[in-house]
Amino acid sequence: MAAVNGHVHTITALVEDRPGVLTRVSGLFRRRGFNISSLAVGASEQPNLSRMTFVVHGDEWVVEQVTKQLYKLVDVVRVNDISHEQVVARELALIKVKASADTRSEIIQIVDIFRAGIVDVAADTVIVEVTGDEEKVDAIMKLLKPFGIREVMRTGRIAMARGAAATGAKPASAPVAAQSAPDTEVVP
């Protein structure tokens, strides 16, 4: 089950693989004040189409607006709010940790517990690769922190519907006008 944690939503979008499409999408989020905590993009199974996954914070009204505004972009082909679907959600992180001869075995133990891996070993650092949901990545980072984290690279969440149905088989159908927009200050 995807995290419908309070007001966190996972939205995926199938977009034309064209120059500028990422700018259009990220510009839309910025301009309309939508709060996204992660955005991941990559090729999809279909030629010339990429798939984006966003993690958006907000209530139903925000999600409805995000979905509809995304649809207004000519390059956006399909949008899905998969927060309420059965999905597998993952992110990948690379974590460069200080490691001396003394601490290395302790780090390896932690890595094993998380079914993570060591993908690079240098004289005084190792790079840990971990895949999982955000909580898992956060948890391993917390345990590695005392050793000294040099650098972290996280992909952001990607998500896929469980079972035979393709992610985005049905377009997002946010309830229309779940509520009125909040009152805000306007120009005099």
């Binding site: 500028g20 649809y71 207004k72 000519v74 006008a177 509520q179 927009a181 009152d183």
Partner: protein, 567 residues
């Protein structure tokens, strides 16, 4: 057929039935200009400033229902299009902007007159293109026009590197577009239309709120049919003005911040709003939480993102206003709302904001009312932004469809001059009047020269108060009359100014001179200008303070005299 990029643009324009361009050349766009003589059917109007080319193309689109085109060079030419693109975007106007760009190899190197036109205009265009190969020109042109004029219309900018304009490629204009991410919904959902008809049947105090969408889709007859069949009063938003004959018994005029007080009260009491092609802008609603507290809402709009954006909707109908209204008018049952209409008429008597009060001064409202009478409500009005715009919206009685052009969403001062020019090119048969502020007029008055060159028969009515009047009003009402940066003490003599351009002009300082001046201006063959020295301290009423509810509405002086005030 092998053609250069520039030739392909021209061929494409002809296929899209364009015969008029507004623009101003420069180095990067030059290959396009040097190609124009090969295409005598493309008439080019050389402007004094690219901003004006943009507004002229915008107004041409609004007035004609076709697609206006403007042309500019790279760098400063392109940045001068920013305001008109944003203006067109906010008001859903189809328009094509063609800009030159530095050659492909120079892009990204801060070359002379390079600017990221597609980056800058990303949020103020419906879509935009940087064309990196001449072979792409036909497809891009086809898509651009399709995107601009279908669905919720909007401006599209196409940026052409100079060497793409000279590059040769095979020209074949596509028959259709293949855009998987762009498929506007036109037909309203049958079930929703049935539900809407049921709500209308149940309603006792329904009102129609007609917006720009009615005009864009040309749904005049359909709107009228619905209103008459179910006897529902029609309120028109600022951009919906002239969607419904104001001489009609069901016509109520404008709502909102400077709308008719009785309309705001009617909305407040209404139990059903039928919103068509309007987007519940904050100028219409005031404080959302207090807006139409008793009403259910049917919202008809072609843009799904507008439905539910600001106001809770009971029945959403996404589709083209003309088709949906046609279907809805068939579905609704005949009805009368005698009590409700009587109630509104009473409100109208109690809150007569449609009337001009008696005064010995030269009131700007009086000027508009006289113009309305002399032209029998059949002129085409183009305005700037500010007090004069609101007075024109309030006191001119529009009788013909689509005869009111104004920058509503962006509120662009200066629209009155190039806008009137563009409108005249679209409808040269009409009496086109520019209702101008002395502030806005001076922002774009350089186009007077262009208008003389092309004998553009536009009449200017400057409601001259030597103030940035609307801002002065805000300072007087809400900032203890502390007047900061709103007075124009050094305005030119507008009569002499017009005469310097060879334009007939006169000045009006007294009520008694108004009618004759209007008639004289209309008798002139070509542009004419009247400098109306109106009462400088006049305010626009009603005034619902921004973000407030109708209960906070200030109604202004009573009809009889200058002294008494009412809240």
């Amino acid at each position: 057929m092998q053609l250069t990029g520039a030739q392909m643009i021209c061929e494409s324009l002809l296929r899209e039935e364009v015969d008029l361009l507004f623009g101003l050349p420069g180095g990067a766009i030059l290959p396009f200009y040097q190609t124009l003589p090969q295409y005598p059917k493309l008439r080019h109007i050389l402007v004094r400033h690219e901003q004006n080319a943009g507004h002229a193309a915008d107004a041409y689109s609004r007035a004609s229902g076709r697609v206006g085109v403007c042309v500019a060079t790279s760098g400063p030419g392109a940045t001068n299009l920013v305001t008109p693109l944003a203006t067109a975007m906010m008001d859903s106007v189809p328009m094509i902007a063609i800009t030159g760009q530095v050659p492909r190899a120079a892009i990204g190197r801060d070359a002379f007159q390079e600017t990221d036109a597609t980056g800058i205009t990303l949020p103020i265009t419906k879509h935009n293109y940087l064309v990196m190969s001449a072979g792409d020109v036909p497809r891009v042109m086809k898509e651009a026009f399709h995107i601009a004029r279908t669905g919720r219309p909007g401006p599209v900018l196409i940026d052409f590197p100079r060497d793409v304009l000279t590059e040769k490629a095979e020209f074949q204009y596509p028959e259709s577009v293949a855009l998987r991410g762009y498929k506007p919904t036109l037909e309203g959902h049958g079930q929703m239309i049935k539900r809407a008809a049921r709500l209308i049947k149940e309603a006792r105090r329904p009102v129609i709120l007609a917006g720009h969408g009615v005009i864009i889709s040309g749904a005049f007859a359909e709107l009228r049919e619905l209103a008459e069949k179910a006897q529902i009063p029609v309120i028109t938003t600022l951009l919906g003005i002239s969607a419904f004959d104001e001489g009609h018994v069901l016509a109520l005029g404008m709502p909102g911040m400077h709308g008719m007080a009785y309309n705001n009260w009617a909305i407040d009491r209404s139990d059903l709003l039928i919103a068509v092609g309007m987007r519940f802008d904050d100028r219409v609603t005031g404080r959302l939480s207090a807006f139409a507290p008793n009403a259910r809402v049917i919202h008809i709009d072609i843009d799904p993102a507008e439905v539910g954006k600001n106001v809770r909707v009971t029945v959403p109908i996404v589709g083209d206003a003309k088709r949906v209204l046609h279907a809805l008018a068939r579905e609704v049952e005949q009805a009368t709302h005698v009590d409700w209409i009587r109630e509104i008429n009473e409100l109208r008597r109690e809150h007569p904001s449609d009337k001009v009060r008696e005064s010995s001064k030269l009131l700007p409202q009086y000027v508009i009312r006289e113009l309305s009478e002399v032209t029998d409500g059949r002129a085409l009005l183009v305005t700037g932004v500010g007090q004069h715009q609101m007075w024109a919206a309030q006191h001119y009685h529009f009788k013909e469809p689509n005869t009111w052009l104004t920058s509503g969403g962006l509120g662009t001062m200066g629209f009155e001059v190039p806008g009137a020019m563009g409108a005249w090119f679209a409808r040269p048969d009409k009496a086109v009047w520019s209702i101008a502020g002395d502030g806005g007029f001076q922002m774009t008055m350089s186009e007077l020269a262009t208008m003389v060159e092309h004998k553009v028969n536009v009449k200017f009515a400057i409601l001259n108060n030597n103030f940035l009047g609307m801002v002065r009003q805000l300072q007087d009402l809400f900032h203890d009359r502390s007047r900061v940066a709103v007075e124009y003490s050094g305005n030119p003599d507008f009569v002499m100014l017009a005469q310097a351009y060879g334009i007939w002009a006169t000045r009006v300082t007294e009520r008694a001179q108004v009618r004759k001046a209007i008639e004289d201006a209309m008798a002139v063959d070509g542009p004419a200008l009247i400098d109306f020295r109106v009462e400088p301290e006049e305010n626009v009423y009603p005034h619902v303070p921004a973000g407030e509810s109708v209960a906070e509405m200030v109604e202004g002086p009573t009809l009889e005299g200058e002294a008494a005030w009412r809240r």
